[in-house]
Symmetry: C2
Subunit: 149 residues, 2 copies
């Protein structure tokens, strides 16, 4: 206990703690994949779980705003991981659909993400990891998932 880590005032702030943990996460992530791959992962995961979505819907479900969704989708499209086609019933919307390659990419990214998880949560046993997951979920569920706009 010679190193108290961080000042008590900060240790009591969940916003500070989560921020630091998230930073550690991005640091570990950087070792295993390009950083931007995290957004790609989120978008691909949402599409695989919910089926095809419009860009705006994607943003709402993931808490990303539409500007950023645009960039991510464009990048994924360029790499052949998904396809954009305009919704026939509402021609404002772009329906976004994962391709075969995108699906493979998603599963590859998932494996790397799980490795990051293990590294990040190395100090917690399975029960504690589940507790943490549940508590964070509870916090997230209590706030709208939407972006700031």
């Amino acid at each position: 206990m010679t190193d108290p880590g961080a000042p008590a005032l900060l240790r009591n702030l969940a916003s500070w703690q989560t921020g630091r943990v998230a930073t550690l996460g991005t640091r570990f992530t950087a070792a295993r994949m390009p950083l931007e791959a995290r957004s790609d992962f989120a978008v691909l995961a949402a599409l695989e779980e919910y089926g095809d979505l419009s860009q705006a819907e994607l943003g709402r479900r993931l808490g990303l705003d539409r500007n950023n969704v645009n960039g991510i989708v464009t990048r994924l499209e360029e790499h052949g991981h998904l396809e954009r086609r305009t919704d026939p019933v509402d021609r404002r919307r772009n329906i976004v659909a994962v391709t075969e390659a995108g699906s493979r990419h998603l599963h590859d990214l998932n494996e790397r993400a799980l490795a990051v998880q293990d590294e990040l949560l190395a100090a917690l046993d399975p029960g504690e990891r589940e507790q943490l997951r549940a508590l964070l979920s509870k916090v997230l569920d209590s706030h709208p998932a939407q972006p700031a706009s």
Copy 2:
């Protein structure tokens, strides 16, 4: 439960969850103080708890790298919240010390930060908040607090 919130793959990633919670924290913070005030708060809190420190030490304890510490300290100095003086025993170092005004500023920021806390963790009862605090602390303690460099 018509809105599952986020895809399962993401809900299982602590790095994603903490990232989202941290984002909510910054969003709530923005409503109560300038965003940059968070770094100021961290630095002031460290100085108040540990006593005067060099900039490099500050960075190590808080997990900030020295470039950023420089900027924060400069800003706080310009506002009269702390003082820089070169360490007489090692003239490479700047000893950083909080001023009276800085101390008042710290306590003001702390109150706002606690309000953000309450808003962020509204869904958790006191016991759950303590659990969350403890789990995040455990994770943070298991990793060196130092910046990436």
